[in-house]
Subunit: 314 residues, 2 copies
Amino acid sequence: MTITQLQYVLAVAEHRNFTLAAEKSFVTQPTLSMQVQKLEDELGLQIFDRGKKPIAITEAGRKIVDQARNIVQEAARIRDIVDQEKGFVGGTYTLGVIPTVMPTLLPMFLKTFTQKYPKVRLVIKEVSTERMIEDLREGHLDAGIAATPLGIESLVERPLYYEPFVAYVPHGHRLEKSGKIGREELDLEDVLLLEDGHCFRDGVINLCQAIPRTEDMPFQLESGSFETLVNLVDEGLGMTLLPYLHTMGLDEKRQRMLRYFQDPPPAREVSLIYHKKELKYQITEALKEVIAAVVRGAIAFQDVQIVSPKRQMA
Amino acid sequence: MTITQLQYVLAVAEHRNFTLAAEKSFVTQPTLSMQVQKLEDELGLQIFDRGKKPIAITEAGRKIVDQARNIVQEAARIRDIVDQEKGFVGGTYTLGVIPTVMPTLLPMFLKTFTQKYPKVRLVIKEVSTERMIEDLREGHLDAGIAATPLGIESLVERPLYYEPFVAYVPHGHRLEKSGKIGREELDLEDVLLLEDGHCFRDGVINLCQAIPRTEDMPFQLESGSFETLVNLVDEGLGMTLLPYLHTMGLDEKRQRMLRYFQDPPPAREVSLIYHKKELKYQITEALKEVIAAVVRGAIAFQDVQIVSPKRQMA
DNA sequence: GATTCATATAAATTTAATCTATTTTGTCGA
DNA sequence: TCGACAAAATAGATTAAATTTATATGAATC
């Protein structure tokens, strides 16, 4: 049994296709096929069921694949240890960021980080929270930035900052004359939401559910960006909620349409999350430091009410 | 990097000698030397300092060796998974047992186990608790039976039974006329102890320390076996404490010299302990089941006061 | 039933691991 | 400081294993 064989198995498990898996592993298809067969022979059981299309993983195979992933990850940590010993912070580092954090946070730290750690090639991907969790597990991402708490056993959450929710209210809206808004004043039917799949959407729904109201709304306008949402509000189609950092980019006219919540304001907790195995943890630490430093000036809310990013049925 | 190379590194780390390590790995010395060198080249750092005798492990090497052990153990679990899938319970299984449990517990379960699982070759070693912990960590033992709780992070403790302490008191001793003994009646100066290194000795000391008394005794007779201790008591040199199972082998005359403790009696917790990684866990489970079943009839104390096997300064 | 896509097999080639034999290095005692 | 010894490194030959190209087989699709 070799680490290479295990890597081949992982590739097949992922792509469900020997040819593609071979390509991704930078070897020819027979090479990969034979090595996988060899391992199966050695273990005396089938990992893959080639009689199906796409290729299926056998029941036993599932467990072996999981353990193989484990071993390959642990093996990767050796390089990690070496890098740390040498004080080398470099290589490719893949970071996932949720869509509602991406446009505001990224510009804040990207330049600083790349200047401070020129040897690290940062690859940044915009992904949903669910996708991020999956990709962190599979090792396709080194870390992610998402709203927490998620409470995923295999992941570590390191809070970066707390970002309050701010209401954006059109002229003539019942909340326009309010000073500070109480969360009980919110009415979900009246709030424009992001489309499904955004955790910020779920956060808002959780927040509104604080007032006893059923979730089945008659009709709802939804969009994928706050930009659109703000425009819809301007058209008088309802109000919306924005994360604090997004409100900083609004022009002065729109700033006046913002309404803040009573203390402690509802907020989302934005964290750096990564696998417990802490691959490339020296880069993760560096990243966390840079972001924390840059964020410290812009957004320093302490006394907030954290809203869960996960849809809650209560 | 291959698993084989990591195994070679572990062998050298253990034996501090390339030649011996090669022998234990069933390869020639140049083979092992070259593979270790190759790995060092690949990683770009020295794992071993050959300029010393015996060979030293470098600072970085220490961390790499630890991780290598981790990887090799995880790799071994693949076989484990396969065995479980196939319902195969077999192979060599090395069990450590502390000296004060060995002679009484072993005869109780050994025959049953080997009959029920003929494909398992049980290798049983008598070791101290400290040695057991070390050997479990290094993977030289698959499991151990010892007094608990130990509170070792990397080990799992699965209690098997609770074994009360019983006093063995000579004729004319102040406790001879007692009915049930209270622990405050004990006086450490008066109690014959096992020699240093036995956790039962520490348990007894802990028990006696319950009464406020200094630990520095003027003179103390000590022995490595209860057999000797009992004989010394018969000679009138003091009393002693025995674990319950040991009292069952005493002849009738000696049985009459036993004095039990008041409820709940002080007792030691005897557990099956093994590494969190749970290598060969199907055998471990089988072993636990067999022992639990056999012990259930002989020793079923529930309401006991567990005495720590670790020396406590309090 | 021909076509296509995917995996398996065969044979040749390259690469890597291991062995035997020998040299170098380091340690220890005279 | 000099052998003498033990242990590790190196060299060259051998064996084993991984990988490649080329080709065959097999299952799904129309």
